[in-house]
Amino acid sequence: MPERVTEKDPEAVRAPAGDLERKARADALERPATVTAPADAAEAIFAVEDVHVFYGAHRAVRDVRLDLYKHHITALIGPSGCGKSTFIRCLNRMNDLIPSARVEGSIVYHGQDLYARDIDPVQVRKRIGMVFQKPNPFPKSIYDNIAFGPKVVGMKGDMDEIVERALRRAALWDEVKDRLKTNAFGMSGGQQQRLCIARALATEPDVLLMDEPCSALDPISTGRIEDLMLELKRDYSIVIVTHNMQQAARVSDFTAFFTVELDPEARHRTGAVVEYAPTEKLFTNPADKRTEDYVTGKFG
């Protein structure tokens, strides 16, 4: 619903488009992100402050400053090369796997800085799960796929129960309960991706990171996974990177728009957050012209 504004609020009607663009540029230089706090008091699960990610000397993402909220879905959108995948991989320290990668700034999760010296990345990844773009089940049985996570992190409990619980949460149990010992490679793409989601859920994380989870899937499978996401958000917090703006519009509560800039000092491209707002606002009345151009599909 558009806001109703009383006559006492002259700022409500903003200047025509040209001035808006100039103002947005100026804003962007001082304050990298146009950040809007959520309407209801949502609890933050990640507090990201001044994060920059470097590959060697090249700065891939700069100045990320935002909060990610518990039991909500946050979408990261933007053109290719804008650093959204790089950023999401910071949240579970997957960038550690790239030798030249370096993360500066702080990412605070449940009051702890994920990049503090005494933090074990293995423990981080137990609590913050990840699902990848192309489904990557192990070449083992469905049961062994799900059981792998709990086993390696040393979870106690009845493995059969753990596996069943994970498969139920991913809405896959009924389809596979009679063939748990068959090879996971025999499943369809959509099922494989749900298996990967179940696998990630088996270690009882509280955050699920999803890097373009549906781009390799057909529309029906995509729809089912989107429905799954909306169910899962009751118990988990989800961050999703997506190329598909309509998907971001459909499933997410908050959306962050990243863009690619030409870094003035070095002659390479760097990603930065342009705007971060509740999804409805970003898609009906974005504050920044760059966001407007991107979501309407006219540029970027």
Binding site: L97, P99, V122, F132, N136, F138, G149, V152, V153, A202
Partner: protein, 303 residues
């Protein structure tokens, strides 16, 4: 339009999809001839060798032949038992030494080593070189450092096994690396993202996924080792021993050595015995390669 009409029109008009020109077809034909010719030549050469060996050796084969010890004097009473047993022992020692070492090196190079460090690049280059070094050099290495020198084991079975292990180690490393590399990075990422350590990922996902490739490659490497004569000669394998090796510190012989010794003999009967031994050696090779191929077909991981 009817088919006849289409055909008639096609005859009078230029075709939309041009036919292959005459010269193109000629070139293709010439290439095929060359290709089949090359394959044929290889087959003919192989067949020639086989035929020769079979002609001489087949009559010699008998259970006695396989269970008697060799003789220097009487070809009729010469057998290859000690050579077969020696060969088998050598293979086992070689395998026990080379597989863990080769796989561990491959795991280090693929999973842990930082390619930017100069020492790792040095190791990589050296492995490629070592795989191409002539086997007699390994024999000299074995003689200088294992039979004599620091280890001073003497010309015993263990020394032979170690020398052969060093010979095929580069090949096993290369093959194991290929098999490990064939495991897609997405599997590793998936395992790590679930909270596995790097070692857990390697032990539980990467190695199991590459085991078929490693086994196949190891068997093929061993089948190369089986046929090596020069290094065993240099380190001093016995010729025609009338005993089986009774321990790692025993003298030994192997099929290639026995074959070599017998072919040198002026007595034509011994040369025929050598042909018989060749057939046995080739049968073992065939068996090993078949096992390797069967393993690959049955357990190969298609990603």
């Amino acid at each position: 339009m009817t088919g006849a009409q289409i055909a008639a029109r096609a005859a009078t008009q230029t075709t939309v999809i041009p036919r292959r020109s005459g010269s193109e077809r000629a070139r293709e034909g010439a290439f095929r001839v060359l290709m089949y010719g090359a394959v044929g030549l290889a087959f003919v050469a192989l067949a020639g060798i086989l035929a020769d060996a079979l002609a001489d050796g087949l009559p010699v084969l008998s259970w006695d032949f396989l269970t008697r010890f060799p003789s220097r004097i009487l070809p009729d009473r010469a057998g290859i038992e000690s050579a077969i047993v020696g060969t088998i022992y050598l293979m086992v020692i070689c395998a026990v030494l080379v597989v863990p070492l080769g796989v561990a090196t491959a795991v280090y190079l693929e999973e842990y080593a930082d390619r930017d460090r100069w020492w790792n690049r040095l190791v990589e280059i050296n492995i490629q070189n070592l795989a191409a070094v002539p086997s007699v050099v390994y024999g000299i290495l074995g003689l200088a450092f294992i039979v004599r020198g620091p280890l001073s084991l003497g010309n015993v079975l263990l020394a032979g096994g170690i020398t052969l292990a060093l010979l095929v180690l580069p090949v096993v490393i290369i093959v194991a690396r290929e098999a490990i590399r064939a495991v897609p990075p997405s599997i590793r990422e998936g395992a790590l993202a679930l909270g596995a350590t790097q070692w857990q990922t390697i032990w539980k996902q990467v190695l199991p996924g590459s085991i078929a490739g490693i086994a196949t490659g190891a068997i093929l490497a061993l089948s190369r080792a089986i046929g090596e004569t020069a290094p065993l000669l240099v380190i001093g394998a016995a010729a025609s021993p009338r005993f089986n090796p009774d321990g790692l510190d025993s003298q030994f012989t192997a099929l290639p050595i026995q074959i070599f010794v017998w072919t040198q003999d002026p007595n034509r009967a011994f040369v025929e015995r050598a042909a018989g031994a060749i057939i046995v050696l080739m049968a073992i090779l065939l068996l090993m390669n078949s096992v390797a191929i069967w393993l690959r077909n049955r357990y190969e991981q298609k990603w």
